[in-house]
């Protein structure tokens, strides 16, 4: 579990410290103060292997294409789009201090030379003898988990504009994390894969119980493949089972959340605008269920919200586990973003006194 983090030079953050995170941490604040950026920074810290670790974050924000230049691909994650800064994200995880640094390197040398096809390909490829290695662009990433050697990765843009990635370490066994964006839905295939994994271990009832919070008629759920991709269906007493997505946006949101927590055992789940699609009257029950699931699956949930009702629901729904709750409000002060942390008791007091705390 992440209990403390410091972020420097990532997007809008010059130097942000969150000194006290808990199993259920809710992030609030006004528009454009960096709530989503905070989740993205922390998710990037965990999401270490994919070539598209940064690109997919742009996709969650609705950007379909970027230019394959350092300015197009990497500058947006640097504070003030300044590639000369160094991003650092450090975190205290289960008592262990870890950090990641991201630094732009315009002179990265690839360890291979470009080759050409030979007329007879069975004889191999050809390489020019007069060729000089051409520097590529790299985002050098260095992970320090407290062990003797630092782990290095390079996101690369070759001289011809082709993106790539190179890891200088064994990247197996890394901690898992899932990001649930505010708008985009997780792919049905991914959802089915997660549900199938749970079914294999006999834990599909956890999902059913959770979804019943919204759809009380739900009797059963199953993965059904009729078209090109599998889809999760639910039985609500109609002649046929129907896709869960036909039961409303709230059901899909809830399904994504519970599957992320259950699939991502012993890891961190990031949920952007957690209340999306869910009626306020259900929020306390849902937070209670999220709290139970997070404990059962040893998961940490870090979520953002704009909603006061959601904060009231956090307080009501998580009354049985006050020590697991933190609320962090981000605030723009002068040229920096700062964090104000409240524990469960403070959250309750703010609600009782009708204080504006978003």
């Amino acid at each position: 579990m992440v209990t403390e983090t410091t972020i420097r030079n990532f997007k809008c953050f010059k130097h942000l410290t969150l000194p006290d995170l808990a199993r259920i941490t809710v992030i609030g604040g006004k528009n454009n103060v960096g709530k989503t950026a905070l989740l993205e920074a922390l998710f990037l810290f965990f999401d270490r292997t994919p070539l598209n670790m940064i690109l997919k974050q742009y996709g969650w924000r609705g950007l379909a294409n970027v230019i394959t230049t350092p300015e197009g691909m990497w500058a947006p994650i640097f504070r003030e789009y300044d590639l000369n800064q160094q991003i650092s994200i450090s975190a205290s995880i289960d008592g262990n201090e870890e950090s990641a640094r991201y630094k732009y390197n315009p002179n990265f040398m690839l360890e291979s030379l470009p080759t050409s096809e030979t007329p007879d390909d069975s004889k191999g490829k050809s390489v020019r003898t007069d060729i000089e290695p051409i520097p590529s662009f790299s985002l050098d990433i260095e992970y320090d988990d407290g062990s003797k050697t630092k782990k290095k990765s390079h996101l690369i843009i070759s001289s011809k504009g082709a993106p790539g990635i190179k890891h200088d370490y064994d990247s197996t066994g890394l901690r898992k994390a899932i990001f649930l964006p505010a708008k985009l839905q997780i792919s049905p295939k991914e959802t089915c894969d997660r549900f199938s994994k749970l079914t294999k271990t006999g834990r599909e009832q956890d999902v059913l119980k959770f979804l019943k919070l919204i759809e009380t008629r739900l009797k059963n759920i199953a993965v059904i493949t009729e078209g090109p991709e599998p889809v999760i269906y639910g039985d609500i007493g109609l002649p046929e089972m129907i896709p869960i997505s036909f039961m409303g946006g709230g059901m899909v949101r809830l399904l994504d959340v519970i599957l992320a927590i259950a699939w991502c055992e012993n890891a961190v789940v990031f949920v952007d605008e957690v209340e999306n699609g869910i009626h306020r009257s259900l929020l306390p029950k849902i937070w209670e269920a999220i709290g139970n699931a997070a404990e059962n699956y040893k998961c940490q949930v870090i979520a953002t919200t704009h909603s006061y009702e959601c904060l009231e629901a956090v307080h009501k729904g998580l009354a049985s586990r006050p020590g697991d709750v933190r609320y962090i409000r981000l605030e723009s002060e002068r040229d920096n973003i700062t964090a104000k942390t409240s524990n469960y008791e403070m959250l309750g007091s703010a609600i009782r006194h009708n204080m504006e705390m978003r």
Binding site: M346, S349, A350, H353, M355, E356
Partner: protein
Amino acid sequence: MPTTSKKRTVTCKVCGSEFYPGEKWQIWSDKLLLAEGTDVHRLLIYAVTYYQKFDVQVINFGGIDELRLFIENLHNMANFSKVTTLVIARDAETNVVSAIDKVQSAIQNVNLPVPIEPFQYKSNEHIKTAFMLFPGHDDHGQCRTGTVEDLCLATVADDPLLDCVNNFLKCAQKNQENDEEIKHPWKSKIYAYLAGIR
């Protein structure tokens, strides 16, 4: 008492300020006056209006046991960094030392400058703080025990109606079951007085 108008606003009959039911309150002034409970809150709103100190924001923090968390939250609210003056008003009740201690520890808890005595400012480069204890000082400059109601009644100390009120309360006390003390006698006294005036 505030009344609700058609525009879904609430207008305070004392100061004329408009409030929006359901909206959360925010810090809008750099001068905050925190009041213990509804009665102190109303009195202070009346006072700042009377003295035309319209730049003072008077806020009800509830009971004294809520002060610590309230100040912690206040300290976290937007615009608190712009606050230059913070004053806390509460009743001394039956124990002046304890009343002072509770306020001081709540202020200390958020690392604000802690005033040593009531009615005195303590400041750092950003903010000055003070606390008031009602009913205030006696003739020797010592803090009196009591409440804001005592302070109000002191303004009508010469009114013969107070004799009637005192007699009534003596009689009421005499007739309590099991010789129990009247709860909140200061409130009973002022309400009885108010009931008796023309």
